[in-house]
């Protein structure tokens, strides 16, 4: 509403880089998130904030994070995907068939699984974009048909086991020295980037971002080195996030995606080939089906018939909680990550507190409500 007066100062300039990672709403969510963490930490007698638990928590959130980022991008473009749970399941079936029946090595399995995801994504894209069926219906059909196909191919049986090296794709850890190297490299590159952009826009040294960055890297080091290194699943999420953030925030492709989601007709008249963008959005989602399926089958070392049930809802919820507006054009990929983190924190925290499932459901509902209400109220005040 009053963005006009803001961000005219240098402090504001420096912050832009940070807020580009996640929207304002997502930042408010970080506050809610902190409250939760403290509560869990106290109630669990210090169990919650241990490197081990935090490492596990992150690994537990990997699949929903990946899918949530993809859905966030589709929502930003003005589309939706309800099929993710079934699509990930079906790709997982493909992966498990390749591993258990064909005995393919790890790399071809992953590549073909992602290819399978691309096919599913493109199939839905064609119906939604080329034929013009609302994506809500296309992906609702996908929700049914993909799982049906998976059941048909496997007789709804579990396929297992995957090879140990395949399982390590999600469950393995980056060695401790390598963990140091990666974190160090990220710190170096990010600070260089921060300093460079600050210089470019003639802002003063971005002290706050640098401090935050260093703190984040420091905490990460404490967590990962304190347990067994970076879990591979977390590495996948980090890589996907880095790519998707860059894509959506720094490239023409991402920029145009936002414009399409905000005003379809105006974007068309500005020369943006809408259909190509929407189609590629579904294909990109397809790539993420493949990645999530790889993580899911690796995690369980199996493809099970119930895997991915309700994943679509969690993913959309993560995106919406993270500030991606269902009206399109608004939100950041990083927001979806924050949303996913919130969801998995609630699950993990209540799980280690041994709260009854029934009460968990009630509490989770209430936390979602309160988190968003806090957010709405905070963002109104400003």
């Amino acid at each position: 509403m009053n963005g006009l007066a803001l961000s005219k100062t240098d402090v504001g300039k420096g912050l832009i880089t940070w807020s580009s990672l996640a929207s304002k709403q997502a930042l408010a969510m970080v506050g809610v998130f902190l409250v939760l963490v403290i509560t869990f930490q106290i109630m669990s007698d210090g169990l919650f904030l241990t490197p081990r638990n935090l490492t596990l928590l992150m690994r537990q959130g990997a699949i929903v994070s990946i899918v949530a980022m993809g859905v966030a991008i589709l929502i930003i473009k003005g589309e939706i995907d309800l099929s993710t749970g079934s699509a990930v399941y079906l790709c997982g079936v493909a992966a498990a068939l390749m591993q258990t029946k064909l005995g393919l090595p790890v790399v071809p399995t992953v590549v073909l699984t992602i290819l399978c995801g691309i096919v599913l994504g493109a199939w839905q894209g064609v119906w939604a974009v080329v034929l013009g069926v609302p994506s809500f219906v296309v992906t609702l059909a996908g929700l049914l048909a993909f799982r049906g196909t998976g059941y048909y191919l496997t007789d709804a049986a579990t396929l297992a086991p995957m090879s140990p090296s395949y399982t390590a794709l999600s469950e393995g850890f980056v060695s401790i020295p390598m963990t140091y190297t990666i974190l160090g490299a990220v710190w170096l590159l990010s600070s260089a980037y921060l300093l460079m952009t600050a210089r470019q826009s003639h802002a003063s040294t971005p002290v706050i971002p640098l401090v935050v960055l260093t703190a984040v890297i420091g905490v990460s080091a404490w967590i990962f080195v304190g347990y067994r290194g970076i879990p591979n699943a977390v590495l996948w999420v980090a890589v996907c996030f880095a790519i998707l953030w860059f894509l959506m925030d720094r490239t023409a492709y991402g920029r145009n995606s936002y414009l399409i989601g905000s005003n379809h007709e105006a974007a068309r008249l500005a020369g943006i080939p809408i259909k190509k963008y929407l189609l590629s959005g579904f294909v990109l989602m397809g790539v993420l089906y493949g990645v999530a399926a790889t993580l899911m089958t690796a995690r369980l070392s199996a493809s099970t018939p119930t895997s991915g049930l309700y994943l679509e809802l969690d993913a959309i919820a993560a995106a919406v909680i993270g500030g991606i507006s269902l009206r399109g054009g608004i939100g950041k990929v990083g927001g979806a990550l924050v949303g996913a983190a919130l969801l998995v924190t609630i699950d993990n925290g209540m799980s280690i507190l041994n709260i009854s499932t029934f009460v968990q459901m009630m509490v989770k509902g209430m936390v979602l409500l309160l988190a968003l209400a806090a957010d709405v109220t905070l963002n109104k005040k400003k």
Binding site: M1, L4, S7, T197, A252, N256, L259, L269, I272, P273
Partner: protein
């Protein structure tokens, strides 16, 4: 003419995030008086009117105003209307899928025990439509009306609201044709006779003497001039609005036309279904570098369709030859049009121009992001520098390229749209109603920019319904009538000749020889039959 004071504004101040949009505004309007409110884009006119009409409710502004001597305290629009303050806002709020009747009767559907009295609703709607002699079925969806028809029904709907004491019309004529505007003025006369105080906002200074009694000029949120009458004060108004004398008329300074940029031969434009009546029927024309080619006509003449087809944006059927920069072939998408050096500033800013929810920067870059990208990655320093310089060039107010476009005043939004197309560095720039809702100062700025572009070798095709604009700014004028070119004129042409061509009174090789009468009736014809 001054009777009792109807409305007196006593020092109203309204801020957005600490920045005042209206500061200490103070003036009054009498019963049966028509007051024109003038001011640059962003001067705060609409904001002040929204305060009066309850859009910004009590408590969100400082100061007060009195209605018939009683302090008015409106908590919402409905209360304002109940007390007789009726606003026809600058931005139309139409529910496109609801029927025309339901749009006209928004919030005041006639009911019996909560049940909509459809017969009465139809009849009331019909009355409103009759007011402007619009012959349409009140039961069809509002989206089937053109923008100007939508505005007309909203005006008549406002007038129909019970017992208006103060009627506020915020730039009603911006999207009306002269004929429609003339009709509106007649109706305003009738309304005034019933003792209603009217506040009339416009950027078309030529209208003032025709309809208004008194003028108030705002600048930077404050009232800077109040005059007891309006006759012969045009330059005084302009000076008060922009704070200094207007720039010299840039159009005097013309360049010699250069190479032919656009050539159109026998172009036909139809809707998507095979049976629909053609919008453009065999038009041929050409435009040269360094030339501003004016395209005049009445609403519905087919100018927008012609331009869309040339740009590659038309969704229906197109036949005919187009040659751009010597290369033959019609662009089949706006993207291709842009790639071949064409730009098009669209007429319907809100629907097909502005990308709301996004910043000025992103809006400006929308059509030319590739120019500030390396391998698909945005070079944000270059992008910002370019947008900042365009914003400075066009005197965008406030000059903040990170603000959301929806927070800018209408005229400034138009500048942002122009900036978008200037950023594409086009060889052919089509501007459809380029000064829609733009103040005098900015209007000259836009003319100046267009002239400068044309001097730099851009061919400009200027579509306008503003006859003065066409006469002053175009180097050559084509007039369209019913999808055909009805004549070509030099700048010195008279108003009368242009109007005659635009209404089909001059002899043209007629596509269908429907005899026509006055301009307004002409449109009525168009609406009544199919589009």
């Amino acid at each position: 003419m001054t009777q009792d004071v109807r409305l007196s504004i006593e020092g109203i101040t309204k801020e957005f995030g600490g920045v005042p949009a209206v500061s200490e505004a103070r003036f009054s309007v009498g019963a049966g008086e028509t007051l024109v409110l003038l001011g640059e884009n962003g001067a705060g006119k609409s904001t002040l009117m929204k305060v009066l009409a309850g859009v910004y409710p009590l408590g969100t502004y400082a100061g007060s105003f009195r209605l018939d001597g009683v302090e008015a305290q409106f908590r919402n629009v409905r209360e304002a209307e109940q007390n007789g303050v009726v606003l026809v806002p600058q931005e139309l709020h139409v529910a496109p899928n609801l029927s025309i009747a339901e749009n006209i009767l928004m919030g005041m559907l006639p009911t019996r025990f909560g049940i909509v009295d459809r017969a009465k609703a139809r009849q009331k709607a019909k009355q409103c439509l009759d007011f402007f002699e619009l012959d349409v079925d009140p039961d069809v969806p509002a989206k089937s009306l053109s923008a100007s028809e939508q505005r007309l029904i909203m005006i008549s709907a406002a007038l129909a609201k019970s017992a208006a004491k103060v009627l506020i019309l915020d730039e009603p004529t911006a999207s009306l044709t002269d004929g429609e505007a003339e009709h509106l003025f007649e109706k305003m006369e009738q309304v005034r006779a019933t003792g209603v105080a009217t506040i009339y906002i416009t950027h078309r200074l030529d209208e003032i003497e025709r309809v208004c009694d008194r003028a108030v000029v705002m600048r930077n949120g404050a009232v800077v001039l109040e005059t007891p009458d309006v006759q012969g004060r045009r330059s005084e108004f302009i000076r008060a609005m922009i704070g200094h004398d207007p720039a010299v008329d840039a159009s005097l300074n013309r360049a010699a036309p250069g190479a032919e940029i656009l050539e159109v031969r026998d172009l036909w434009v139809r809707g998507s279904s095979a049976t629909s009546k053609p919008h453009v029927c065999g038009v041929s024309l050409s435009a040269r570098a360094g030339e501003i080619l004016g395209l005049f006509g009445l609403v519905g003449a087919g100018r927008t369709e012609l331009a869309s087809a040339v740009f590659g944006a038309w969704r229906g059927d197109v036949t005919g030859d187009v040659r751009i920069n010597g290369v033959a072939g019609r662009p089949t998408s706006p993207g291709e049009g842009i790639a071949r050096g064409v730009g098009m500033l669209t007429e319907d800013r809100k629907r097909s121009g502005l990308i709301e929810g996004q910043s000025v920067l992103r809006n400006i870059s929308a059509a030319s992001l590739g120019r500030v990208c390396k391998a698909g990655v945005i070079h944000s320093k270059n992008e910002r520098a370019r947008a900042e310089s365009l914003a400075r060039d066009l005197d965008l107010r406030p000059p903040n390229i990170d603000a959301m476009v929806e927070n800018f005043s209408g005229g400034n939004q138009q500048k942002i749209m122009l900036a978008r197309w200037m950023a594409t560095d086009p060889d052919l720039l089509i501007v459809d109603e380029p000064t829609y809702g733009v103040d005098v100062g900015a209007r000259y700025a836009i003319y100046e920019r267009l002239r400068a572009l044309s001097k730099d070798g851009t061919a400009i095709l200027m579509i306008s319904s503003d006859i003065e604009e066409i006469m002053h700014e175009a180097d050559r004028i084509l007039v369209m009538y019913k999808g055909q070119i009805a004549g070509e004129f030099e700048p010195g042409v008279s108003r009368r000749e242009l109007m005659a061509a635009a209404t089909g009174e001059t002899h043209v090789p007629s596509f269908d020889a429907v005899p026509t009468t006055i301009p307004f009736k002409q449109e009525k014809q168009k609406i009544g039959v199919a589009i």
